[in-house]
Symmetry: C2
Subunit: 396 residues, 2 copies
């Protein structure tokens, strides 16, 4: 049985895990990442919608605070990552052009107005516009749209491009081992390493658990569940593609279309998503889910009928009991970075700031301070432990 | 520049071309098949519905005669092919269990009744049954079905399995060259060979042109056009899959679901098809086509919503000006086997009988005699040449 020693062992090589690995490397740590197929989890299906505003519904002010804090960090995060990966500016596909929200029928419009009022109360600005104005912004908007809103604060990025950039950076200075972790190693209550499926033992000063929905099977204090979702990749061409994120509800069902930048050959991918199922993890795409996504997106953007279907992808997001992330120290030597649910891409820079802070690098901007504060308030893993519950119970 | 000499050169290695090659080998000929990617044309997308009855509409008695003549040959053809390929009985997936035809709404039922009356006039038996009886045969039939018919004469086969079997047989005794033909070689009005894209010349006593929709670009007397179509491959499992072919119309739009045999692991593929477009050839699947197929098939078989979408495939059928095949001698040394349109799989045994006859092997059964007669009457390539038109004009 071979063994490895490193400063930081990261379990999971998706966007969240590689971000933690990168930040640890920046802090001077030697890093090993364990993942049998890095980036083939939730990252692979993610559309990259940075929906800090529109993703937050009633009872989800915490998610809204986390999301807006993280979104504020995205431009600096993307630029730093592109520099570190020696990629040109724009390589990770961050665009901050805003989002068009559509309501298909009058009931959808009532719901949209309620959401706008909720967000307004939280200080998140977005404004109702007429269907005609929506069509001025996006000529592909269909004829049967009851109302719309312009959401200047919601953006997009390309998760697969982010994954590629992170892989370049992390692989240049660290080790990516293509095996799954099977257990964490403990000593006197502290986590001191992990064992992988090949029988190799890793000893580490810090273990970052970023194994997505599988995190809970390695550490009971990370109560994650798989939330499978399907996205479709279309090639709409430059002509038929929306130029900004279009999202909406169609008779109560949410759907979105996230365009990628136009390619040199004129192709333009649009990611359509996403279903959200409470079932076991699998990578199997259901016919009914594909049908539902196409039905709803074509109701908002009929021209997508002529787009080419490139791919249908199903992967599981890591859900937590309150759907907020699980981000912070959970035991001596164990930092959790999971439970990001539908917002893993959005919350990646915030996760980076939390890892920086955990490894001793103080926040380097007011936005980073805000992100760390929001993390402490809304994402602390200890909210799921008995001690924490008892404490809260004691103060109630 | 290298060159090859053979008795029979077959241009095109899909089901039709390989069938011609096999029959030529059986007649004692040395055979070369040219195809850059055998079986990746219309064969790859074909569902394998043997719809001799239900595919024939008003004005298409010729197709009905060809189809029923060919269908009668399928059991012997499949058995002979399985023997020749040293595969177990049933390997090519022929099942003769009949077809369930469904009408979604009352207008669809009116159309179905008219079709049944038409077929009855041609002596093709099928009977209207109630939606309740339809559900007794197939419990997955949906609640909104206005009417149904049982079509005992329509069956199914697995085109990809047929392709595999034919490839084994032909490769064992002949040469498959992975290049496309770029031109036919002529001498004194006769066709005496072909040139391939690698510059190799082939001299042959007989050239069989079976290049699907591309046939017309090699020989003007084979006026084929591409008719792209999309099929979907679902894994419905044994529970949710229909056990026989289910076809129907949903508000006038045709759709079908063709089950494959249950696999040992319990999986059961169902092929859902098919769109039919008059456009240029490409292999690109449109989002709107996938949407339309799923919308219509789930109207008839709602449980398919839970099936796994395995694949969406788009390939071009070879259409002819009258949508009937182009099957027979077109010049000295040139035998055409193309233009099979939607019925290439159905018409494969009839094509085999026509090739047998052309190469001097007399029909070996009454069914084969009938197939050759139907071919001569309805599929003669000379119907598209000036001389033939003049003759017909002269007798009018």
């Amino acid at each position: 049985m071979s063994s490895h020693v490193c400063d930081v062992l990261v379990v999971g090589g998706g966007i969240v895990g590689l971000t933690a690995a990168w930040r640890a490397q920046e802090a001077g740590a030697s890093v090993v990442v364990l993942d049998p197929s890095p980036g083939d989890g939730a990252t692979h299906a993610a559309a990259g919608m940075l929906g800090a505003v529109m993703e937050a519904g009633f009872g989800e002010e915490g998610q809204a605070r986390l999301g807006t804090a993280s979104l504020a960090l995205w431009p600096a995060f993307a630029a730093a990552l592109e520099r570190a990966a020696d990629l040109p500016p724009g390589a990770v596909g961050l665009e901050t052009a805003g989002t068009l929200a559509l309501a298909y029928d009058r009931d959808d419009l009532v719901a949209l107005r309620r959401l706008l009022a909720l967000h307004s109360g939280w200080g998140l600005g977005s404004a109702e516009i007429s269907p005609q104005d929506a069509r001025r912004r996006e000529p592909g908007v269909g004829p049967r749209v009851a109302g719309a809103a312009w959401v200047p604060g919601d953006h997009r990025v390309d998760p697969r491009a982010v994954q590629v950039a992170l892989s370049r950076v992390v692989a240049a200075r660290g080790t990516l081992v293509p095996h799954a972790a099977v257990s964490l190693t403990r000593s006197d209550g502290a986590v001191v390493g992990a064992l992988d499926e090949a029988g190799t033992a890793y000893a580490a000063g810090t273990v970052v658990l970023a194994a997505g929905h599988a995190s809970g099977s390695l550490f009971a204090g990370a109560p994650t569940r798989p939330v499978p979702g399907t996205t479709l990749r279309l090639d709409a061409g430059a002509d038929r593609s929306p130029s900004v994120v279009v999202r909406g509800t169609v008779q109560g069902r949410p759907v979105y279309a996230v365009p990628r930048p136009v390619r040199p050959d004129g192709r333009r991918e649009v990611i359509v998503g996403a279903t959200s199922d409470e079932r076991e993890d699998d990578h199997l795409t259901r016919a009914g889910d594909v049908f539902g996504l196409l039905r709803d997106v074509r109701a908002l953007l009929p021209e997508l009928d002529d787009a080419v279907l490139l791919e249908a992808v199903t992967r599981s997001r890591p859900g937590s009991p309150d759907n907020a992330p699980i981000l912070g120290w959970a035991a001596d030597g164990l930092f959790l970075a999971t439970g990001h649910h539908r917002n893993g891409i959005l919350l990646t820079p915030l996760t980076a700031a939390a890892v920086d802070q955990a490894l001793g690098a103080p926040p380097d901007s007011a936005d980073a301070v805000a992100a760390v504060e929001a993390t402490t308030r809304f994402a602390d893993p200890r909210r799921f432990t008995d001690a924490y519950s008892t404490t809260r119970g004691g103060t109630a």
